[in-house]
Symmetry: C2
């Protein structure tokens, strides 16, 4: 038990949520609503906001407005805004926007099937793309600082992913970082498809730390199967102090019109857990819940976050329903 | 870290779910659907099913059919069926049904405001009622084995509940049990309004164990604020091996028509967590998910369980939506 004193929360809801919500309807979220949500999140105390993705507009039409979003953005002092990209074209679009911070990072997938489906790349091609990206950073005069492994805990196509393969992919990331004059000071492990569990997280964290003791580990978790917050707690107990989360649990499946399958772990639930454990996040939970309600209005349907429904403390009035019957266990 | 080898799962969905869903519409769930769900749950391998509540039909009209349910019940060998009650009238109704097992238990609330609202009793009256119940058990020739503390981790009316008060209430339960010739071999702590967090659970468990080392602790948790599964994990790590849960996360708030605020921790998510941690439950997860889908059809709206949406393993077909776009992070 070595709970961190403070954790870094990276809000990825605008990027991941806008992208996801727009899968079937690129215009699912109005441009002004996107900006309003980004502004509301920036007012919560969160330090890093991932707001756009620079991908091909044919592939992800709902992100075609990435440049417009950044252009209209009114940056808040103390908040770092980032975008993500998967290739040199995306990187060039990202660095053309001085309001965005450049995070010199590399990405690999731990599932080859996922890499083929998500980016049309074999493992070798995935590594070659990362190598090209490393060279681009070097040409820009920046050193790689960060690695990301997607599908690090399992894959809907391949099932469980062996830990040895995750370590091998991290090794490749580390090699490429060093070849291009950088090093992995931060490594984000993404549970892209919601396969992690507390034991798997602890085992993976221990193995990564043993081999790369100077690398800080961050987690990008999804709550697909209901274990999201249990996974966050297990990671906190092991001292993990960096989490990527999405307001309201944005990023869920399209059945979410019914409040359906969950996406990312909800930022407000992670912050609430940290608050309860005495772990500082620097984030104002009341403002975060306000931003969550704004996100729900923007997407036009309930989001998966439970805390968004319940609030932190339900008052007397809310605890009694219209008919005056108490909303509790009657008896237990 | 002392994960138990196996845990006892007590399914309370029929009792708590039917009760809850019927708050505004007593006929919310058809009689035959109730029986079908109980039968489906009995086929999962779960050992104990809490199926009815013997409360006054004026107060809880949706439980007016308790006797009819038990009468129509076709018990499955190896499954224990139970009902709950809050007073001597309820106890007499329960023991009139030989298909139900009698669990000689006592209940106190750790929040006086909740006791006043839920049962119209002060702390003193609550203890007097428990004392009368203990005397009734003695007259029936059975010894008290079990105690229950409601609102043991917090209360929507009172806020946090001091640990000293929880211990004091357990002390009263223990005294009454001994006065009537029994003892608390099992103590269930109920997070009736969803106030628990992992640290609070571990602290409470440690304090109870220190004072009553021979008493087995069970937990009845709600997922109201999103920490339900994190709380289960924290408890498992401390060796807790008894959990009361509800299929689908039944027992939620009336906004649940939108897949809204969560009720009890979902049985299938607890079993899934245990499976992943190598903790045996004796429950077949596939059958449990079938029962969950049945529960959703019976209540006529999505239930809060995430695993019920996602399934344990999403296959290739399901992972691609109609437009052929992958339902993942595009890029991370």
């Amino acid at each position: 038990m070595m709970l961190p004193k403070q954790v870094e929360i990276v809000e990825v809801g605008p990027r991941e949520g806008f992208q996801f919500e727009g899968i079937s309807r690129p215009e699912a979220i109005a441009f002004d609503d996107k900006l309003a949500l980004i502004a509301a999140l920036a007012a919560t105390g969160v330090k890093t906001l991932q707001i756009v993705s620079f991908v091909h507009p044919k592939q992800v039409p709902q992100m075609a407005d990435a440049e417009r979003i950044v252009e209209a953005l009114q940056p808040v002092s103390g908040v770092t805004y980032t975008g993500i990209y998967l290739n040199d074209v995306g990187l060039k679009r990202a660095i053309a926007n001085p309001k965005l911070a450049l995070v010199p990072d590399l990405v690999l997938s731990a599932s080859e099937t996922f890499a083929l489906r998500n980016q049309k790349r074999t493992f070798d091609e995935d590594a070659q793309a990362a190598r090209r990206m490393g060279a681009l950073y070097r040409d820009l005069g920046v050193a790689v600082t960060t690695g990301n492994v997607m599908a690090a805990f399992g894959c809907n196509y391949e099932g469980p992913i062996p830990l040895s393969r995750v370590l091998e992919r991290i090794g490749t990331l580390s090699d490429i970082a060093e070849e291009t004059g950088g090093r992995l000071s931060t490594l984000n492990l993404a549970d892209t498809m919601g396969w992690a569990d507390p034991t798997l997280i602890r085992r993976t964290v221990a193995a990564v730390r043993e081999r790369w003791p100077a690398t800080r580990i961050g987690l990008h978790l999804h709550d697909t199967r209901g274990l999201g917050l249990a996974n966050v707690y297990a990671a906190l107990v092991d001292g993990i102090d960096r989490f990527e989360c999405a307001i309201g649990g944005l990023g869920g499946c399209p059945f979410a019109g019914h409040g359906g399958a969950a996406g990312n772990v909800a930022t407000e639930e992670v912050v609430f857990l940290c608050d309860r454990l005495g772990v500082s996040t620097g984030i104002d939970l009341t403002r975060l819940l306000d931003a969550g309600r704004l996100a729900e209005r923007a997407v036009g349907h309930p989001l998966p976050s439970r805390l968004l429904r319940s609030g932190v403390e339900i008052g007397l009035q809310k605890a009694v329903n219209d008919s005056g019957v108490h909303l509790f266990d009657h008896g237990r």
